[in-house]
Amino acid sequence: MKDGFIPLAAPVARLIEELSKLPGIGPKTAARLTYYLLRRPAPEATALAEAVLALKEKTILCSACQNIAEADPCPICASPERDRATLCVVEEPLDILALERTRKYRGLYHVLHGAISPLEGVGPEQLRIRELLSRLQGGQVKEVILATNPNLEGEATAMYLQRLLVPLGLRVTRLARGLPVGGDLEYADEVTLTRALEGRQEF
């Protein structure tokens, strides 16, 4: 049967189509969500619609750290309590959230918006590296923490940045790599175990 023959009201069909574009949502889930919204009171649907609109209209990139924010500079960059001598470089805005949850890091961030992945066509020029370098020109930052993911793309990005940053005379550090808390030694791969052995500490 062709789609055109299914007697679906046009607004319903439209929402199903839009929702099914979201990651992890197929046509079945999209239809379920659509009919759920249809049954809910109108204010609830309005609130969702407004939230979606505000997402694009009321967010900007912080001109300093490139994180998604409401204001420029973002609260982290603007905060007087933050240590301006350390800068933590991450791949995605969500990585900041993860680091902030630790409550252990008091410095600033820089979001690259991706990692070098030549095979997928992402080269250094697609990342916010130029912005990072111009930020470091001021000379306030003394240490750059490379917090890219511990996979091939993240390592490539970290090594690439290291080559650019070391000549600037900064302290360049990398997050430690090793065994995850709650993990199991027998399942660890050789690279992780090697790193864990190299980075062992006095106990």
């Binding site: 992890g24 095979l119 080269g123 995850p180 791969d189 690279v191």
Partner: protein
């Protein structure tokens, strides 16, 4: 008898693409099943048991379960993670270039055992070369051979007459062209006799012998150009990792 639901293979991870919350869609290259795509579930979580064995550039023993569309990886044990390549930006760029070419020159489900072996041995050669490109040149030519694109090096690609020992021309579509046929191939460019001999030697000899050939800087450039044109013609696009590699070479040197 129905095909078994679970099967084992060794594989080299060529590419990985994030999918869903924590999954990755991997492109694998196997010795007996050729290139295939498979789903690795949950490997982006830090505590994933399989994650470290399934990163790009891992050579691993895998267990896969057949799925309706995609097979799912149920077990993985790394044989070799190539740590020497991962820890060096230049070598890593070279390795990614090798992986990209393999991906570009293979079709899913086509067995190519000799190419699998060639790829593994090339990756093992890269750290010893210390950034030198001989392993790459040797790989490029052998890759063309293993995928059916070996350039013609003994007879003129146009008139089929044996080549004279002189400077000739080269067309990326098929190989060497004698000076009298050159006008018929608009995209050909000059090929010196010295580099023609190097190409012939690389195809005849093993890597150890090929490595012994000393090239002048201009010969090295010419060899790289000739093979690069050939790969671009048959691969139908520029190598992205190749561009990255050139960028890395332009970075300020370490230390």
């Amino acid at each position: 008898m129905p095909a078994p639901r679970v099967y084992r293979t060794e594989a080299l991870v060529l590419r990985g693409m994030d999918l869903g919350e924590a999954d990755r869609l991997l492109t694998l290259f196997t010795p007996r099943l050729g290139k295939l795509r498979a789903l690795a579930r949950g490997v982006r979580r830090p505590k994933s048991k399989l994650g470290g064995h399934l990163d790009v550039l891992c050579h691993s023993d895998l267990m896969l379960a057949r799925g309706r569309n995609l097979d799912t990886i149920t077990g993985a044990q790394a044989r070799h993670g190539f740590p020497a390549l991962r820890g060096d930006l230049l070598a890593l760029g070279q390795a990614l270039y090798v992986l990209e070419l393999v991906d570009l020159f293979t079709a899913e489900g086509m067995e190519n055992y000799s190419l699998f072996q060639l790829t593994l041995t090339t990756l093992e050669r890269l750290p010893d070369a210390g950034g030198g490109e001989t392993p790459l040149r040797y790989f490029e030519l052998r890759l063309l051979e293993a995928t059916g694109y070996r350039p013609q090096l003994y007879n003129c690609h146009v008139c089929r007459r044996p080549l004279e020992p002189q400077d000739n021309y080269f067309s990326p579509s098929g190989g060497v062209i004698c000076p009298s046929c050159q006008a018929q191939e608009p995209f050909s460019h000059p090929l010196s006799l010295g580099v023609l001999k190097v190409l012939r030697h690389y195809l005849r000899a093993g890597y150890e012998e090929a490595r012994g050939v000393r090239l002048t800087p201009s010969q090295a450039r010419e060899l790289k150009l000739v093979l690069g044109e050939c790969l671009r013609y048959h691969g139908e696009r520029d190598s992205r990792a190749g561009a990255f590699l050139e960028r890395v070479k332009g970075l300020p040197s370490q230390g």
